[in-house]
Amino acid sequence: MAISYKRLPKFDYVKPIDMQDALDLLGRSEKGKAILYAGGTDVIPKIKTRSISAPDVLIDLKGLPGLDGISYDDQKGLTIGALASIYSVAHSPVVRARFPLIAQAASTIASTQIQNRGTIVGNICNAVPSADSAPALLCLGAEAVCISRTGERHIGLRDFFTGPGRTALEADELVTEIRIPPLSGKGVYHKLSPRSRMDLAVVGVAVFVDTGNGEFKDVRIGLGAVSPTPMRALGAEAVLKGERIGDQVIQEAARKASKEASPIDDHRASAEYRRLMVEVLVKRALKQVALN
């Protein structure tokens, strides 16, 4: 059983107001000695349980300008700043209008209190396989804009997750925003968990489809909690693309998705159960968005 200390270990705290200062501090520090945080809803518990060692300094990102916005334009699509809280994304009129799937997925995360502090970017950077925002963002082809002292790069979310709790970010890099390119279609996120909000997803399924003339023009299926990283079920997508919408092809795709998943046994569920539930939930989600 994990031991959790109620008291935090000693560390310093800084709140830079200039991005360059933040990046310099991050770049100068030995790996793991300067820890970035925004909401702290993953970082603080991890420090309390000692699953990450005490930093020398906690860098509060909330003083940095220009990172808390949620905006849309027809070129870039939707931009979610690093400091935009999960609550603000779940309730944003812009997100609800352009990509309701993202607002819906965000609304399944934890509790109101956690959502008021935690951020979508933080959810991605924490990179647990069950991250509730990940399947939806993967479906929508999101990318992370990352900066360090040496420059900026964009990492597609499919390349961003590299393992359970691991990302492609270098030690001196931080994510400033997530961008989702313009895309038409409808989607839904199904989170299977014992308690609807506070539990991690045992299985998370997001689908996003564009249909017309009774056919699947485009299909994206994102899976969470059933592989080392959140993933796309590309084989299942290929089964559906260009096909007439119908029960049989949906069933086939759902079965294919469950074969593409590589879940593990853990205290939340067995691999076998997760695999079965991938099929059930992919089928349910596809029917929900395609047959309405």
């Binding site: 000693k10 702290g40 603080i44 906690l58 956690i114």
Partner: protein
């Protein structure tokens, strides 16, 4: 490591403190300010017993560094009543038996306050969603939901 000098407003009163960087908001509220309504149960942001309202938002104070209180307005359960006059939420919890041992209650009421501040007419599903982060081991939640519903009715006059 130096203490951080912070200035904030707590339950309408201005306050100034020097806190170490590793102090949590919950520790500061309970131990420095002696406001012991907010409780420490899980210390992990999983149970909501520590819920207070900072900057107008309900937060798990066990996960907030105390230094972040600087420049903020903080509301705890102790700040809801006006003298002897209980807040309609508190009245409703008394009327409708929304408490048994009372340990979860301060956090529960602060979450309910945030819910009603943002949605004055929540239905049962929205109430349950609004208190999803507050655990109660005694009541089975039914009376809590009824209390919050009754408070929403009473608050239609606004407060």
């Amino acid at each position: 490591m130096e203490l951080k000098h912070i200035r904030f407003v707590i339950n309408g009163e201005p306050c100034e403190l020097r806190v170490p960087p590793w102090r949590t908001l919950l520790e500061m509220i309970r131990e420095d300010l002696k406001l012991t309504g907010a409780k420490e149960a899980c210390g992990q942001g999983e149970c909501g017993a520590c819920t207070v309202i900072m900057g107008g938002k309900s937060v798990n104070s066990c996960l907030v560094p105390a230094v972040e209180a600087d420049g903020q307005e903080i509301l705890t359960i102790e700040g809801l009543a006006r003298g002897d006059e209980l807040h309609p939420l508190q009245e409703a919890f008394v009327e409708h038996a929304g408490m048994q041992c009372g340990f979860c209650t301060p956090g529960m009421i602060m979450s309910a306050k945030f819910l009603l501040d943002t949605n004055g007419r929540p239905d049962t599903a929205q109430i349950k969603d609004g208190i999803a982060g507050n655990f109660c081991r005694c009541t089975g939640y039914t009376k809590i939901v009824e209390s919050i519903s009754a408070a929403a009715e009473a608050l239609k006059g606004g407060r």
